[in-house]
Symmetry: C3
Subunit: 100 residues, 3 copies
């Protein structure tokens, strides 16, 4: 079986950011994504004020370079004022050419 | 604490495949799974035509061998014509005998 | 970009445990979490009787020590009688001071 190491980027953000983030990740090279609504609690923005409510969780499988570009974009654009978390994991996919 | 390395297999597929995939993974050795509906965009089938809509995300914790068998089955049976992604991650569980 | 290795703890449990588990993970040091309802099948308690129904999936990003404490708590408090699974993954976050 032809498997392939790849990055899974997860972004959990206030629902108001959904369309902007989807536009960001597609522009930066993501070929697809999944999205669900989640509940949660956390902190918001630079001063880490408490936050609770509905968020969206967006996941996308991308190359290392695209993963880095997405994380950088999230940090630059949204971390200061919004409740948002972004992280990366290593996953192994069966190759389909889709992500290359 | 008695922890244990194991594989988490994630399958994201068109909703129409839900029952068939659950049957597949149980037959191949999965002892349990979780399932949620997700929204998303991606590509479909060998020719990677665009796809957007509702999918199911199925996750199951299994041994290495069962993980391989599930990925192989997904590739052989569904990749050519359906919008489906399958990937594997390493996770650490507290042992409960359930997954052995 | 200032990234940081951290643990993602996932707990999948019968819905009836939601409030207790959220209280547990906050007391043990989690600064935030997300929660979704999932469907699934699995086994329940020490005797691994079959189980199917609605569960909650709780995810939280924490330090190694907090991850260990959460897994230990889940095992000690809930594994014997409830349908519950707890596991840990390594993820890389962009540092925001939130999780330290």
């Amino acid at each position: 079986m032809n498997t392939h190491a790849i990055k899974k980027v997860t972004i959990i953000a206030e629902s108001v950011l959904e369309l902007k983030i989807i536009e960001d990740i597609k522009r930066l090279g993501a070929k697809g994504y999944t999205l669900i609504e989640v509940r949660g609690e956390g902190t918001k923005g630079r001063h880490a004020s408490d936050w609770a409510g509905n968020s969206v969780k967006i996941e996308t499988l991308v190359t290392d370079l695209v993963a880095e570009a997405i994380l950088q974009r999230m940090a630059d654009e949204y971390f200061e004022y919004y409740a948002i978390v972004a992280f990366v994991e290593n996953v192994t996919v069966v190759r389909q050419e889709k992500f290359s």
